[in-house]
């Protein structure tokens, strides 16, 4: 840093090692970015609270909740898609898409995730509206914070914190709806019949929501969240960020001063509106910083002031570092599409799209029947009294449709061999057998395969085919072990 700053005198009193949080009391503001924030908040909270209540008919054998994470049943339902544990790569793929999506958004529009759709931001915003509803706008909040405890303050705090608790409780309550049938769970919850984990989860999420959204707020972004650090590494000179155009604004002077001597002062009238509205309590005029979540409320505030005093808008504005340099050099900014369309964003988009298309393809191509075979290892084979050789297998037949189906299990290869299950007699051994598999479940069979004396060790396969309409088939390779001699 600057080497000319003053050496500290020894006697200078040291600041405390620990610093109390400075209260942030953002002022109410309206403008285009505020309206965008309202919209995002409406959509995200709407999704969060509403989605568990959407119904989706899957027939009599599956739940009718559109989005359901059935942990006990090991199923993940999402509208028309039902994911089994062995298909978890679909979920992994979605997470990869979410990750690349964040990269894409960050390289194009900077910390837009932080500013608009991060849950911490959305809930903090919600709680700050509650603050304004109960305590009034910025100045009233500051006054109340400084006021000694008295009946009025106690009443207001009690009211505000009760609303906090209510929001927190509602947040936790909505979370558990994703893990069980929502209407049933609500009834069980209030009649005390829900699982203990439901109450515990709601209690924990109520506590974290109130703590993080009601009290920690910007401290989470500044001290706890890794994402701002990662994002500052991911932004480049072409990423949009909220910028105070100091070459236009400096030196600051009050409206009166700058009107008196327009040549001496820049556009900034030092009205501090940008600081007043900031939800993280920073001064954007100090330059880009970790506390700036790029919510753009300071842009709204500054634009309004500029409009009032008849100066052009955009003293604080979304801008890329590159455009800032061009503007300072007196050149026109690059068109937005040129900034957005660049190799980095195009590659991110292509990768994102590739993963998405791959997932869609896999989703469309997947079958709803499955077989997996595990051979007994101990003993690997069994010599029978007539000299024939028996191998034992555990065969899992997966019926992934929500209707019961007949399934035909067949031996492929291994001439002369027959099989039977432990529910059949060996005398009834066959090369193909039919089992009915209940809807949406795994049928486990213990299968013995016996081959004629002298059969060599070899590969063969089990094939399962569903009977009835829309037949599907799946095959599993297996090994038949035999004595060496």
């Amino acid at each position: 840093m600057t080497s000319h700053s003053p050496i500290l005198p020894e006697e200078r009193p040291r600041a405390s090692l620990y610093e109390k949080r400075r209260g942030v009391y953002p002022q109410k503001i309206d403008g285009r970015f505020r309206r965008l924030k309202w919209l995002v908040m409406l959509v995200t909270l709407g999704i969060y609270y509403g989605v568990p209540w959407i119904r989706w008919d899957r027939g009599p054998y599956a739940p009718d909740q559109a989005v359901l994470i059935d942990l006990a049943g090991r199923r993940f339902y999402m509208f028309g898609i039902e994911i089994w544990p062995h298909e978890f790569y679909f979920v992994a793929g979605l997470l990869i898409m979410a990750g690349i999506g964040l990269f894409l958004v960050t390289s194009a529009v900077g910390r837009a995730w932080c500013g608009y759709s991060c849950p911490q931001t959305v809930w903090t915003d919600l709680f700050q509206h509650i603050d304004r509803f109960v305590d009034g706008d910025r100045n009233a909040q500051v006054r109340l914070a400084k006021a000694p405890w008295g009946p009025k303050k106690i009443f207001k705090r009690a009211l505000k914190w009760s609303i906090y608790l209510l929001v927190g409780f509602w947040t936790g309550g909505a979370w558990i709806m994703y893990f069980a049938d929502a209407p049933t769970l609500v009834r069980d919850f209030w009649s005390g019949e829900a699982a203990p984990v439901a109450y515990i989860t709601v209690a924990i999420l109520t506590a974290t929501t109130v703590t993080l959204g009601g009290f920690m707020r910007e401290q989470v972004c500044i001290y706890m969240c890794p994402w701002p650090r990662i994002q500052s590494a991911m932004m480049d000179e072409k990423s949009l960020t909220v910028t105070y155009k100091h070459w236009r604004g400096e030196p600051r002077g009050s409206l009166k001063q700058s009107k008196a001597k327009p040549d001496l002062f820049g556009a900034c009238i030092d009205c501090n509106q940008c600081v007043a509205v900031c939800p993280t309590g920073i001064d954007i005029r100090e330059g880009p910083q970790i506390g700036c979540i790029t919510c753009a409320l300071c842009i709204d505030a500054c634009d309004r002031v500029m409009a009032e005093i008849g100066r052009p808008r955009g003293l604080i504005d979304y801008a890329t570092l590159e455009d800032c340099e061009r503007e300072q050099a007196g050149e026109a900014p690059r068109p937005a599409w040129k900034t957005l369309l660049r190799p980095r964003t195009i590659i991110y988009s292509l990768v994102w799209l590739g993963v998405g298309l791959g997932l869609l393809f896999a989703l469309g191509a997947r079958t709803h029947v499955g077989i997996s075979v595990a051979q007994d290892r101990n003993p690997p084979f069994m010599l029978m009294s007539d000299g024939s050789v028996r191998n034992a297998y555990t065969v899992n037949l997966r019926n992934m449709q929500s209707r019961p189906r007949q399934m035909q299990l067949k031996l492929e290869g291994l001439p002369g061999a027959v099989m039977w299950t432990d529910e059949m007699r060996r005398d009834d051994a066959v090369r193909e057998l039919v089992r009915s598999a209940p809807a949406d479940s795994v049928e486990t069979l213990r299968v013995y395969v016996v081959a004629e004396p002298g059969t060599d060790e070899q590969e063969f396969a089990f094939t399962v085919t569903t009977l009835g309409d829309q037949p599907e088939t799946d095959t599993s390779e297996a090994r038949f072990a035999a004595p060496e001699e």
């Binding site: 050496i7 500290l8 020894e10 920690m216 401290q219 330059g287 003993p379 069994m382 007539d386 013995y448």
Partner: protein
């Protein structure tokens, strides 16, 4: 702060924060104060740790750790969990105690429970001889196959487990004794001829007329004229592919000359009747179990085993 770089501390102009005086290639460390909530969280975790040390076992001493005022121990927790598990099994065990083993297959759910319980008990009590996969070994019968020395239905298996094999002092135990033919009863040459005949029964050797004669005189009384054995006396089937002590000629000669006899403990008294029942069900389920013959032959045939 007693820092020798103290003279180099200064206020960083853009942030207004003091530096600590450390510098690496022009990069200086700011002395930004920690947030106070962090300090509070730190104190809370210290208190938590202190409480934990008092409440739970913590300090390792010479022979054991401090016990903690809650008196919690992982051993006691395990005992509690086992007791709870036992309690949850009580109904099944009671049902198993009531049902005679020949009726067990009628209740497929109970049968499944019995097989599962037997699988666990087998791992504790039986694998030492019969192997983890119940495949046995030389001298120890394989329980997966369809060859049974003393019978392979549920009742026979249960009877074998209860009374064991060749257990002195147990009246119910299954006993058979093959004479050693090497002590002068047969000459080594004759024993070789008998062995050839025995192997020819399963096609492993060419027929030996002299051996067949000797077999009819000396062996058929127990093993039967065709060598198919007699379960009543535990005489193994010699005409099948399965050999308890090996199927090569020298193995057979050795067994005729001076037979080995396996023994199995009587489990009555060591294991409770329900566990024995579950073990029988498990062994029966391994793939070679036989159906019960309706015309019960009194003290039914018994244990599994091969020759």
């Amino acid at each position: 702060m007693t820092n020798k770089h103290v003279g180099e501390r200064r206020v960083d102009e853009p942030t207004g924060t003091e530096t600590v005086g450390h510098e690496w290639d022009g990069i200086e460390e700011l002395d930004t104060p920690m947030p106070r909530w962090w300090l509070i969280a730190f104190y809370i975790s210290i208190l938590w740790a202190a409480a934990y040390v008092v409440l739970y076992p913590a300090w390792p001493l010479v022979s054991q750790a401090t016990e903690g005022v809650l008196g919690w121990s992982s051993r006691a927790q395990l005992a509690e969990e086992i007791a709870k598990a036992d309690e949850s099994k009580a109904a099944v065990l009671a049902a198993l105690a009531d049902v005679p083993i020949e009726r067990l297959p009628e209740d497929s759910d109970l049968m499944r429970q019995a097989v599962a319980g037997g699988r666990a008990a087998f791992k504790v009590n039986c694998v030492q001889c019969h192997g983890a996969g119940a495949a046995g070994g030389n001298g120890y019968p394989n329980l997966n196959d369809d060859d049974w020395l003393w019978g392979g239905d549920l009742q026979a298996i249960e009877a074998t487990i209860i009374a064991g094999i060749r257990q002195p002092g147990n009246e119910q135990t299954r006993v058979s004794q093959m004479p050693g033919f090497g002590g002068g009863l047969l000459t080594p040459e004759e024993i070789g001829q008998v062995a050839d005949h025995v192997l020819s029964l399963s096609g492993k050797s060419r027929p030996n007329p002299r051996g067949a004669e000797l077999f009819a005189t000396n062996c058929a009384v127990c093993h039967g004229d065709n060598g198919r054995g007699k379960r009543e006396v535990g005489a193994p089937n010699l005409a099948d592919a399965i050999w308890l002590y090996g199927g090569k000629k020298e193995d057979v000669v050795k067994q005729i000359t001076s037979p080995r006899h396996g023994a199995m403990p009587a489990w009555h008294g060591r294991l409770d009747p329900v566990t024995i029942k579950m073990l029988a069900a498990y062994v029966h389920s391994l793939g070679g179990g036989e159906d019960l013959v309706e015309v019960a032959t009194g003290a039914a045939a018994k244990s599994d085993d091969e020759s």
